[in-house]
């Protein structure tokens, strides 16, 4: 077995060398035999970011539960390390056995955000793996991708061999079993790829081709292997209580962004906010029972020694048994001196009371996401919350002793007007007035209100998938408008970079041609594009010119319902008809009830699972 020699003299020269050594508590050590299936789980960002990712923890332990498989972790080296690796010709390596990436059978990347794609290309190159899938030969690993951005896999289609659509627990066993069979029987790469097209959730891009019209839009998708399916249905776990969940987590050497036990409460979201991709692609809602959750909480705390546990879901407040579950969890955690972190809460009396219970002292800041400043806009996006509810929630929080509040909004949502942008400032002002409306004795002195705006990026599989994105100039005008509209000194305003958001929109709704843009940008030196200090707008503009990709065509063009979209061969359960209906309702600022109130017939019920089939 080849291993990479990481000398002390090398590690002494890099920042945070513990990123590269492996061997953490609860990481796997396995003997590598000739027949071991070797899977490299790659996260296209640095160690501290990747180690915070729940999906990696689940799949790492899921794959390693198989005796015939050894799943190892690989992260993007930080730029200082990369420089040394290139100078000394050290290939990208895994943390567990320090093997070069090219020695693996599978190299899997999780696609969490579009701006990490150049890092994928960089990691392949550092690992000595040809970037284009067509250039890979029998000795090369199969490159497989999954995760939320894989629902539109086309920008990466020419770089990857296999795309996994859906939840990892469902089809990986079948895939690995097929691999073993193929290895035993011998055959070409093509043979293996042909063998797996029938596995649910598996998409092999090389068996399809995109044909374009003269106007640049997609004309059709041509199949060049008859057996390959016309549509690829996402796969989802049926019974969450019986599904695999790790009983331990790898505990990172250095402080990760989220360094704690993560307890996944449920998948999916009943809400149906029209901008939210996660709310659509993870449907239907499937919950774990409180007993199962408490059991995992206990085991995970025991196995990691963590001092914090975080509840993970898209909307914690919507967990059916939340009051009883929270009470028991608080009891368990108080005994063990463990803190509870509660992200994704709605602003209501119960939440404020709950947060009060878990944060006995030192109140951290409270985060609310009204997403839009006016009621009209909140109705457009189907964020079913009224101004009254927002202010009531804030009042409760202020009375409860919080004085630091963060408000999240989105700019550039469809049908937004100048009044709607100004509405953000107006709402922030009302929140501040609510604070001063609380009796002095009851509130904590010194209000700190942060208003934060992100730039709306239309995503595939949302009712806004046809929408035009604002131009960077328009975003910047709105930033300025808001900056001047917010005058109170207790309110601070910050916003995301518009230029990154434009590229995110290009890639998110890109077709295969966008792969050339990624490749060219990478060739020009773009990596770590999600790190603002590394993002180089000029290089991306040059890359767009060189690769003949018109950014506005992808980001700022409104699509018609008739247009064939690059991701329409992927079936997430939710139908195009439903998304169209939702988009029409958005135009009329009309709302849709959530799944528990009333089924709106999104189509996810045909997956036969979850909330759609509970009484």
């Amino acid at each position: 077995m080849n291993t990479v020699n990481l000398s002390d003299s090398l590690l002494n020269r890099v920042d945070k060398p513990a990123r590269y050594i492996g061997g953490e508590l609860n990481s796997y050590k396995k003997t590598i035999e000739e027949e071991t299936i070797r899977f490299a789980f790659c996260f296209p960002d640095v160690y501290e970011v990747g180690m915070s990712h729940l999906g990696m923890q689940i799949l790492y332990h899921f794959l390693n539960r198989r005796e015939d498989t050894f799943c190892e972790r690989v992260f993007a080296p930080w730029v200082d390390m990369e420089k040394i690796m290139r100078e000394e010709k050290i290939p990208l390596f895994s943390l567990e056995s320090h093997s070069p990436l090219s020695d693996f059978d599978f190299v899997g990347f999780t696609l969490q955000y579009e701006m990490s794609y150049t890092n994928i290309l960089n990691m392949l190159e550092l690992g000595g793996i040809p970037l284009w899938s067509k250039d890979r030969r029998e000795e090369h690993p199969f490159v497989i991708v999954g995760g939320p951005c894989a629902y539109n896999p086309e920008p990466l289609a020419n770089f990857v061999d296999i795309v996994y659509i859906g939840e990892g627990e469902v089809s990986y066993d079948a895939l690995l079993d097929k691999y073993k069979e193929w290895k035993r029987e011998g055959g070409s790469r093509q043979d293996f790829l042909k063998h797996i097209v029938k596995i649910p959730g598996i998409y092999v891009p090389c068996f399809y081709e995109e044909i374009y019209k003269e106007d640049g839009t997609l004309s059709k998708r041509k199949k060049n292997y008859e057996e390959a399916p016309d549509t690829i249905k996402k796969v989802i776990v049926e019974k969450m209580d019986e599904s695999f969940y790790p009983e331990k987590q790898v505990v990172p050497w250095i402080r990760a962004i989220h360094d704690r036990v993560t307890l996944e409460m449920f998948r999916g979201c009943i809400r149906g906010c029209r901008f939210c991709q996660a709310g659509m692609i993870y449907r239907p809602v499937r919950q774990k029972s409180k007993e199962v959750l408490l059991g995992y909480a206990q085991k995970l705390l025991e196995a990691t020694g963590y001092e914090e546990i975080s509840l993970a879901s898209l909307s914690t407040s919507d967990y059916k048994e939340l009051p009883a579950f929270a009470e028991e969890l608080i009891g368990m955690c108080n005994e063990e001196y463990v803190n509870i972190s509660l992200p994704s809460l709605r602003v209501d009396a119960f939440s404020v009371d709950l947060m009060q219970k878990v944060q006995e002292v030192r109140k951290s800041s409270l985060t609310f996401a009204p997403e839009a400043g006016t009621q009209k806009m909140r109705d457009v996006i189907n964020k079913n919350i009224s101004e009254e509810e927002i202010l009531k929630g804030c009042r409760l929080a202020f009375e409860g002793g919080w004085n630091r509040v963060k408000l999240y909004f989105m700019l550039g949502l469809p049908y937004e007007t100048v009044e709607d942008v100004q509405g953000i400032a107006a709402l922030a002002e009302k929140v501040a007035q609510t604070y001063f409306g609380v009796e002095k004795e009851k509130r904590q002195a010194g209000l700190q209100l942060v208003v934060s705006t992100s730039c709306f990026v239309p995503k595939p599989f949302t009712p806004f998938q046809w929408a035009a994105q604002d131009s960077a100039e328009s975003f910047m005008t709105k930033h300025n408008l808001l900056k001047h509209a917010i005058t109170r000194r207790q309110i601070r305003y910050n916003h995301h970079d518009a230029k990154t958001s434009v590229l995110e929109a290009v890639i998110a709704r890109g077709d295969r041609r966008v792969g050339n843009l990624l490749y060219t940008a990478y060739q020009k030196g773009c990596t770590f594009d999600s790190w603002s200090e590394h993002f180089d707008e000029n290089k991306w503009q040059e890359a767009a010119k060189d690769s003949g990709i018109e950014l506005a065509f992808y980001a700022q063009r409104e699509r018609s319902y008739e247009e064939l979209l690059p991701w329409e061969h992927i079936d997430i359960g939710v139908t195009k008809r439903f998304l169209m209906a939702e988009n029409e309702k958005a135009k009329a600022a009309s709302t849709t009830p959530h799944c528990l109130e009333k089924c709106s017939g999104c189509g996810a019920n045909k997956l036969g699972k979850g909330v759609c089939h509970e009484g």
Partner: protein, 226 residues
């Protein structure tokens, strides 16, 4: 009760910094189900105390840690439990009941032993004589980075003893120096003083071998108060 542990930190784990090592122990203690005592107050934390932070990249054969336990326990049991869950490279080699005195472990530390390995391939011109001659000077001046800019200091008074040996591949320098909160000498500074042209990319290896308390004489911490 309070137990004092002596442990090693060798191999890749030496690249885990001090604060991360503290967290690593806090978690290992919980995983090993050691009944550690917690501080009172609003954000309780487990009561563990380290003797002297170890620099990132430095190995050690003699690190010390105190753990306050909430009840009486056989120290050997604590050691075995911890060794079962600790990561490769960190091993508890000794454990004993800490003498019940007010002094904190950190304030006990007065001196340390270091071994510095200077590979010949990194320092091709080096000889034992150069090292010995340097160490034999009346003063050993070195520029030290301070808050108010650099200043030259004499580190000779901080050195208690030295030994130089030549091996096949390297020179080995043993240093017995003052350490702790009152006076502390980093071994890198000695190298910098001796080899004025040493640069950032010159690689040498440092191992901390032992920590000492003082009571009429320097006593290794694992012999102190036992």
């Amino acid at each position: 009760m309070k137990v004092r542990l002596k442990f090693t930190k060798e191999g890749p784990v030496k690249f885990v910094g001090h604060l991360d090592t503290v967290r690593l122990f806090q978690r290992a203690i919980k995983v090993a189900k050691i009944p550690v005592a917690y501080s009172q107050g609003f954000s309780p934390h487990s009561l563990i105390y380290f003797a002297l932070p170890l620099a990132v990249g430095m190995s050690s054969k003699g690190e010390y840690l105190d753990i306050v336990l909430e009840k009486e326990i056989e120290p050997e049991w604590v050691k075995d439990q911890l060794n079962q869950v600790l990561v490769d490279g960190i091993r508890i080699c000794e454990i004993f009941r800490a003498p019940d005195i007010k002094d904190s472990l950190m304030s006990l530390v007065k001196a340390a032993d270091y071994q510095v390995i200077l590979p010949k391939r990194e320092f091709p011109y080096l000889t034992c004589e150069i090292l010995e001659k340097g160490l034999g000077q009346q003063q050993l001046l070195v520029e030290k980075k301070g808050k108010k800019g650099n200043k030259e200091i004499d580190i000779k008074p901080l050195i208690l003893g030295t030994e130089v040996n030549e091996e096949e591949q390297a020179f080995c320098l043993k240093l017995h120096v003052l350490a702790g909160s009152e006076a502390n000498l980093k071994p890198e500074l000695v190298i910098k003083a001796l080899l004025t042209d040493v640069q950032e990319n010159h690689y040498f290896e440092i191992t901390r071998e032992e920590l000492y308390a003082y009571d009429k004489e320097y006593i290794p911490l694992d012999h102190y108060g036992r």
